[in-house]
Structures are given as C-alpha cells and as structure tokens.
C-alpha cells in the first residue's frame, strides 16, 4: 500500500529573495531520486505539502510549470513555524515534497481566451499557468492571454525579470500595476487591481475564462467588476486557501460545506462557490 503521507526527499538547489521586504523567497528544489520527479506529474494550480523534518508541513502552490523540467519552484511567504524555518535554510539542505495535491481545470481551459488576475504573493500558481501557456508547445492551444497583476509597490512584485520579459512579447498582454509608487521611472499602471481590471480586462464572451488569485480584499472588490463586465460565474476560476494537514481530503479541517479545499479544490469556479456556504 502506497503511503500518501510520505514526502519525496528533495534538495534545495537555489533560494531567491523575491521582494524588497525580504519576506518572500523562491525555493528551487531538485528531487534526490529521479524516479520521484516522474511520479510528481502536476499541472498549474495544484499545490504540494513542503515538509521540513522537525518542524512539519505547509501547503504551498507550485510556482514552476510542468514544462520546466528538472526542478520544482515554490515561493513562500514567511508566516509561521515551518515557513520561518524554511527562510533560514540554505542551498544544499534536504526537505521533502508531498504531492501534487488538489485538482486543476485545464481540460476546460484548452482553446480559450484567458484573463489572469492576480494580487500580491498569490501570483505563484498564476505564474505557473502563464509559463505553461507560453511554452512553445502549448501557446497554440490558447487564444488571447491577458494578465492583470498588482502589488503594493514595484519592489513587492514577484518574478520581476520574467514580468519584464513577458512585457516585450506580442503573444501576451501584460497589465502590471502597483497601489502606489514614488519611482519617477515607473512605466506601468498605478491603481488597485479591481480598477485596472475594469479598465483593461476584455469584455466577456463564452470563450473567455478569468483565473483569479489574490488576497480576500482584492477578490471582494474584483468580483463586482467582473459582474459588470458580464463574466459568467462558471467562467471565473478562483483558488482558495485553508489551514491544511493531510492535503488528501482525510484529516477533516479544510472543508467548505461538503467540499475539501485540499482535494476538491483548491480551484473552484465562482458558480461552485455560489452554491457553498461562505465559510472561507
């Protein structure tokens, strides 16, 4: 019987400090056993439990794309016991990865126009989604791609080198924004994500899906904007967060109604959420 609680051992290959407050670091992880990488077959939007021996596990969205071979990437905010320990680790240290966990909805998204709306450090799985769609073997499977991504300030944006590279491409429309900045050379948008969404998001048609990830306050104010733009609720896909332990729908804590966020989510359409208790 395979033990679904046993993590794959991985080595920290590289640690990148992403933001000016130094609270967000990206961990590039390499499997110690190459067979394990084969078994860890994932899609953007899924997550994994990062396991630090002696501290515990935390559920973190996968920031790398399955098109990027040889490693996994996770961007981790320093919040509690496990994440604080992770932030103090160095390249060469051994941790564990358990997953991939949760579902994805890419079967629905194939051939569609995609609007990505992200805020703050919730951009990680959206980054995975963008890298996946922009892969030369996948790009023809999607129509227009629009990305609205905001952070408090320029220094709080994740993956800044990649954002700059995407800005130069003609097969993706980037709408980067910051809440405010005193940088005179800032050449992108200034304004909250809901405002920029209202200005830049394409009008809805039945071929258009919105993927939203962000802090609750952003989601709360973006939802009415999408309603105004006519987005059908079954074409709005959101990713939820919950305290989790097992990640496989057994330990019982991350439910919203009869659904477990870990196993039945973490991505849900807004139409699905409309039929669930608002306990998140």
């Amino acid at each position: 019987m395979q033990n679904p609680y046993l993590p794959y051992p991985v080595c920290i290959d590289e640690i990148i400090t992403e933001t000016e407050d130094k609270n967000l670091k990206t961990f590039k992880l390499v499997f110690l056993n190459p067979d394990d990488e084969e078994k860890f077959s994932y899609m953007p939007g899924q997550f994994a439990e990062l396991s630090v021996a002696g501290k515990g596990e935390i559920p973190i969205g996968i920031a790398s794309s399955p098109t990027e071979k040889g490693y996994l990437k996770f961007t981790v905010n320093k919040v509690g016991l496990v994440t604080t320990c992770l932030h103090s680790m160095k390249a060469g240290d051994i941790i564990g990865v358990r997953g991939p966990l949760g579902r994805h909805l890419w079967d629905t998204l194939k051939g569609k126009k995609i609007v990505i709306i992200g805020g703050g450090f919730a951009f990680t799985t959206l980054r995975s989604s963008i890298a996946y769609m922009l892969d030369p073997l996948n790009r023809m499977n999607f129509k227009d791609i629009n990305v609205i991504y905001g952070a408090r300030s320029p220094g709080m944006l994740l993956y800044r080198d990649e954002l700059a590279e995407w800005e130069t491409r003609d097969d993706i429309n980037m709408h980067i924004t910051v809440d405010s900045t005193d940088d005179p050379d800032w050449k992108y948008n200034v304004g909250f994500v809901p405002t920029i969404t209202e200005q830049k998001a394409p009008p809805w048609d039945s071929d258009t899906y919105a993927l939203i990830c962000g802090p609750p306050i952003m989601i709360k104010f973006t939802q009415p904007v999408l309603d105004k733009l006519g987005y059908a609720h079954d074409h709005i896909i959101m990713s939820l967060e919950m305290r989790m332990k097992c990640g496989i729908g057994i330990c019982g804590r991350c439910n919203i109604g009869k659904k477990y966020v870990c196993k039945d989510g973490p991505v849900f359409t807004l139409a699905e959420l409309d039929n669930m208790p608002k306990e998140y």
Partner: protein, 348 residues
C-alpha cells in the same frame, strides 16, 4: 452461515485458546466505567455492561500515532529524510463490541479508504481486526440506533455476533474472519440454525422495542445546505457550549486528526493525533484569519458535517450511529437528537 452454541463454561477456555493467535481487546471495568483495553493473559472481558464510556475507535485509530521517523544528525546517512516505521499489525480481536460501534467502523472507512487515497495506518489496523459483536438486550435511554440505520442486533461491520442467552451465547458467524475466530477458540457445538435464528429474532424485536428515543432524518437530503447553514437556530444551539471537545472525543464516527513533528535531541518523529472541530486552532490560518472563529461556527460545523455534509457527500444516511455518548457526556446537555430534528424540520 453457521450458528454456534457457546456454553459459558467453555468461554474462558476458548479465550485462552485465542490468546496465542490474536491480541484480544474487550470491555473492562475501570473504577466507575467500562473501557476497551487490551486483555492480558487470563484477563476476561466483562460483558455485563451497557456500553463503554469512550468508543473503541482508538483500537484501529490511535489517539496518538507515529507515522515516520528521521534523524537530524547531518553526519548520518539519509539525515532529514522521513522513513516509514515497522508496526505491529498482527491479528487482533475486539470482543464484545456493540453493534452501533461496529457500524461506526464501516462508516469511518469511507473517509480513510477512498478511490484516490488509502490511509495505510487506519486500513492496516482495520484489516487486522476481527469484530466480535455483542447484541444489546438492554439499550441505554440515550440510544437512538434504530433511527440511524443501525440497531441493537445490527450485523453490518461485524465478523461474529454474540447473543447472550444467560447460560450460553449463540454465536452467529457472519464472515470468514468470524469463522477463523470461532475455530481458533475451539467452540464447535453447532446449533439448529432455524431455532437459533428464531430466538435471535424474538430477542431482537424485544430489544428494539426498548429503544426509547428517535430522530427524524428523512428530509435532511432535501434541505439546502446553504439554507441550513444560515438557519437562525445555531446561536441558540451553541449558546451553552464550552467548546470542550468531549463530543468529538467520545464519538465513534469523529475521525479528524492533526499532524505534528516532535524532536528529541537529533531524532524526530512525525505523528498524528486526534483533533477536533470544536477547537479554534483547527482552522486557524497562518495569517491569523480563522474561517470558524466563533463558537457558533464550530458547533454548526460539527452538526452540519454529521447531519448534512456527510449525507450529501455520500448520498447516504447521517454520520452518526446513535450510540448516545455525546448526549450522555456533554457537560451542558447539548443533544444531537434535538438538533437533528430541528435541521430535518427546517424549511428555510
């Protein structure tokens, strides 16, 4: 299906025969209450009891259980890598379990044995267990098993049902596991199955008549989860609750657990421990946000899970076998029977 007559004079000898082949668990009186514990050689289960204070779930699902071990000593091979540990899953038998508690294992199995994931700890312990039931001739006043799809002579989840006839037990063998158990004990006196079934049937009817309390569950499936969630009665139901968690601790169908690491010097373990939806930490996010921050939200979660989310998820009855422990043990007299009826009646 064979029926065996066990003369009580041969009971002790049979258990002695079993001792070499099984680890035996049974009800034993401990100060004031009966509890399930492992029987040492020569120790007899006390079958003259109503039901145990706590459910026997811990025999398959330990309150605290080691999952993995690891070394943090960087000079050692494979340091910081979690390793599975060898555990004893030799055959064990649970003697004298009540039919409601036996049914609870079947119900809980749905959670630990899913198409996508199998929980190896729970399943291996479950598969190594023979469930030897004891029919209830004198149900407690708080029992409502007959309205939860169960009953005092219910056979689901059992390998063997013992019916106490005074001088002897009628043993109804229900599975190959039950057959092995009987053979291992050396009880061989077959009894006329038609006559024995007739006796059991009469005793069953009498016992079922003694069940004095009931719940209505027929409308739960039709009710809207959103309406029930927003129902006005939750504040009143939760008002007296002190969030002590006794209900979930005693419940045979509560399965939630926590996973924690513990380290002593350079040796660490990852373990799991029973947890409870009654505790605020259960759902507290790292950010400090808690989706079930208030007592009312947690009480609502417990009842909604048992009586609505479970019903919807598995398209079946409620996540309750009617053992009545949460009612008997609640320090502030919150009664699941009342809540179930309120939910069943609530039209939104």
């Amino acid at each position: 299906m064979r029926l065996i007559n066990i003369d009580k004079k041969s009971w002790t000898g049979g258990l002695e025969n079993l001792y070499g082949n099984y680890r035996l668990f049974g009800p034993v009186k401990n100060n004031k209450h009966h509890v399930f514990k492992e029987l040492s050689k020569g120790e007899l289960p006390d079958l003259n009891y109503l039901n145990t204070l706590l459910s026997p779930k811990s025999i398959v699902f330990s309150q605290s259980e080691t999952m993995f071990e690891y070394s943090l000593d960087e000079s050692k091979e494979q340091h910081h890598i979690l390793k599975e540990i060898n555990k004893d899953y030799s055959p064990q038998a649970l003697i004298g379990i009540r039919p409601c508690d036996a049914a609870s294992f079947q119900l809980v199995k749905r959670n630990f044995d899913t198409p996508e994931y199998k929980d190896p700890y729970w399943l291996r312990a479950y598969e190594s267990t023979t469930f030897v039931g004891l029919a209830c001739s004198n149900p407690c006043s708080t029992c409502f098993c007959t309205s939860t799809g169960c009953g005092p002579f219910h056979e689901d989840g059992l390998d063997l049902l013992l019916v106490d006839e005074g001088e002897n037990f009628i043993a109804k063998i229900l599975t190959p596991g039950g057959e092995n158990f009987i053979k291992s004990a050396g009880w061989e006196t077959e009894t006329d199955p038609v006559a024995a079934e007739k006796i059991i049937k009469n005793m069953k009817i009498k016992a079922e008549k003694k069940i004095a309390s009931f719940v209505s569950t027929d409308q739960l499936k039709n009710r809207s989860a959103i309406d029930l969630y927003a129902a006005p009665f939750w504040e009143e139901i939760a008002f007296a609750c002190i969030n002590c968690g006794t209900c979930t601790y005693a419940c045979p169908t509560c399965w939630c657990f926590d996973i924690q690491d513990e380290v002593s010097k350079n040796l660490g373990i990852r373990m799991r421990n029973w947890d409870s939806c009654m505790f605020p930490l259960f759902t507290l996010h790292g950010t400090g946000y808690n989706p079930r921050n208030t007592k009312m939200q947690r009480v609502r979660q417990r009842f909604m899970h048992k009586l609505k989310y479970y019903v919807d998820k598995y398209d079946d009855g409620i996540q309750c076998v009617g053992c009545g422990r949460c009612i008997r043990l609640c320090p502030v007299n919150i009664d699941i029977r009342r809540v179930c009826d309120m939910m069943n009646k609530y039209e939104g």
